[in-house]
């Protein structure tokens, strides 16, 4: 492993970054080979192309310090690559979303203690506001002129909104066949929504090429991805804090690129290392749609590598056929004794209704996938129903109405009379 780089942070364009711009972050470290490079707008290891991750020198952090912070992700700023004055810069202030005990859904599935971490209540109604807030901080510190992303929809919404609030130009790239509500939810915030004729992996490739050519662009999930990805740790931090500073036994998390799942695991390990929670075993499970399940397939077949697929599923926010963190999802789920499972589109629709009708939470197709996988894990004996379990709802059902529009509707259409009502057999 190379030694830790020192000295001021300077970007390729010669911009000198201010002291403390990235808080307690120390360097970028390759997850594959350990090679370290100075903090900068970089995402791939120059030695092996492996993903660069933030390495920190954490100070002592106490529960009291965190609890005294704002009711958003910045309460954990000491554990993120952001400056100490992050709250003073305009951002969407995401996070500290509700952790709901799901008694009805637990009873329906035979799980003793079940919680839903409901990230649909974030400012643009998905967990993406968390990661984008961290990416926005990095973009600001690198003096980026354009804030951009390739997206399956939710990310585009979050980038467009955060950029508007921060007063930075945004460009968001999406697959042209994306659900209309997700397109509108971006276009209201930005005049530069670009619909690309291709699937998400095509859009992602295009973004990587643009990021390599254009100066001063911060692509949240490309060249500032190491900073962006750290934002997902806050899901893990909040789950632990909201449970009373302890880790759950089991967590079920949807898998698109796989970044979120690996960062929740990283969050749990950091909390243990900092002495903020007691060390204990926990199991992490990944949820995919069968029409785009390269990680679940690799898990099932015992493979170490993830073979890319061409997505075909209603769960468009999970439709990444070549997931960047897929191999690390395999590592985490195998190390913790979890699993990666997949469900069909029909099961995803059932999952949406299962969560809605039992808990009053309207999730999008990703959450339907997670809920359906939870049910499958119980039915197949892979998840222990006597252990405390958390599922993460990453997004809002109003963005994917089409998925269930044909499954639900008026139970009866009647004349406005009491006789007609009783005849309809509603009660």
């Amino acid at each position: 492993m190379s030694s830790t780089p020192t000295g001021p942070v300077v970007t390729d364009s010669g911009t000198v970054v201010r002291d403390g711009a990235f808080g307690n972050a120390r360097a970028l470290s390759c997850r594959e080979c350990g090679h370290q490079v100075p903090l900068g707008p970089h995402y791939a290891c120059p030695e092996c192309f492996g993903p660069l991750e933030i390495a920190y020198d954490f100070p002592a952090v106490t529960r009291e310090q965190i609890a005294a912070g704002p009711r958003n992700i910045w309460r954990y700023k000491a554990l993120l690559p952001v400056p100490d004055d992050i709250e003073s810069s305009p951002n969407t202030e995401p996070g500290f979303t509700r952790l709901l005990q799901a008694r009805n859904l637990g009873a329906a599935l035979g799980i003793d203690t079940l919680w839903v971490k409901d990230d649909s209540t974030n400012p643009t109604n998905s967990f993406k506001d968390r990661v984008v807030a961290c990416a926005l901080s990095a973009a600001r510190e690198f003096h980026a002129k354009v804030f951009a992303c390739p997206s399956t929809g939710n990310l585009a919404n979050a980038v467009a909104a955060a950029g508007a609030r921060a007063g930075i130009k945004t460009v968001v790239l999406i697959p042209a066949d994306l659900e209309k509500p997700k397109q509108v939810n971006s276009a209201v915030y930005t005049d530069s929504l670009v619909a690309v004729e291709g699937n998400y992996d095509d859009v992602n490739r295009l973004a990587s090429e643009i990021a390599g050519e254009e100066e001063g662009w911060a692509f949240v999930n490309v060249n500032v991805r190491p900073y962006y990805a750290e934002g997902s740790k806050t899901l893990g931090f909040e789950i632990a804090e909201q449970l009373g500073w302890r880790l759950p036994d089991q967590v079920v998390i949807p898998v698109a690129s796989g970044s979120q799942l690996t960062k929740v695991d990283k969050a749990f390990r950091e909390l243990v290392a900092l002495g903020l929670v007691e060390d204990k075993p926990y199991r992490i499970f990944g949820a995919q749609a069968e029409g785009c399940s390269p990680v679940a397939a690799a898990f099932r077949e015992g493979h170490e590598v993830v073979r890319p697929v061409k997505p075909d599923t209603i769960a468009k926010s999970l439709a990444i056929g070549n997931p960047a963190d897929g191999v690390y999802v395999l590592d985490v789920c195998r190390r913790t004794g979890g699993a990666v499972e997949s469900v069909t589109d029909d099961e995803i629709r059932e999952g949406i209704l299962l969560l809605a009708r039992n808990e009053g939470i309207f999730t999008e197709t990703a959450g339907g996938t997670t809920t359906a996988v939870l049910r499958k894990l119980v039915e197949t004996g892979q998840l222990d129903p006597t252990l405390e379990t958390v599922i993460i709802n990453t997004g809002m059902g109003l963005k994917t109405l089409d998925a269930v529009a044909d499954s639900v509707g008026a139970a009866a259409t009647i004349e406005p009379s009491y006789d007609a009502f009783t005849a309809a057999g509603i009660v």
């Binding site: 092996c48 192309f49 291709g198 490739r205 390599g212 690129s257 070549n322 191999v327």
Partner: protein, 91 residues
């Protein structure tokens, strides 16, 4: 076959800063060998010790990921546009 190869930022130290370079070869492997002859060291960045494409590198011939084609044996027709792109983006 004469083709054009787009070079990612982190490999441009091998191409004198060029973002696109010409190369010859009837297959991807032959193109990489030709790149190596003209830009020594670049092959080992794209291929691992076993001679396979590194798992965090995507290579495209035209618009197609070679993992969906014939990998290193993928034909590279005259005038083809190849792209080497880091795989750790997205999500």
């Amino acid at each position: 076959m004469s083709v054009s190869v787009r070079i990612p930022t982190i490999l441009r130290s091998y191409t004198g800063g060029a973002s696109e370079v010409p190369a010859d070869g009837a297959t991807l492997l032959e193109v990489l060998d030709d790149l190596e002859a003209n830009h020594p060291g670049i092959r080992a960045r794209v291929l691992d010790d076993a001679g396979e494409i590194r798992r965090f590198v995507n290579v495209y011939v035209g618009n197609d990921d070679v993992r969906f084609l014939d990998g290193l044996k993928t034909p590279t027709p005259e005038g083809a546009q190849l792209s080497i792109i880091p795989a750790v983006a997205g999500g």
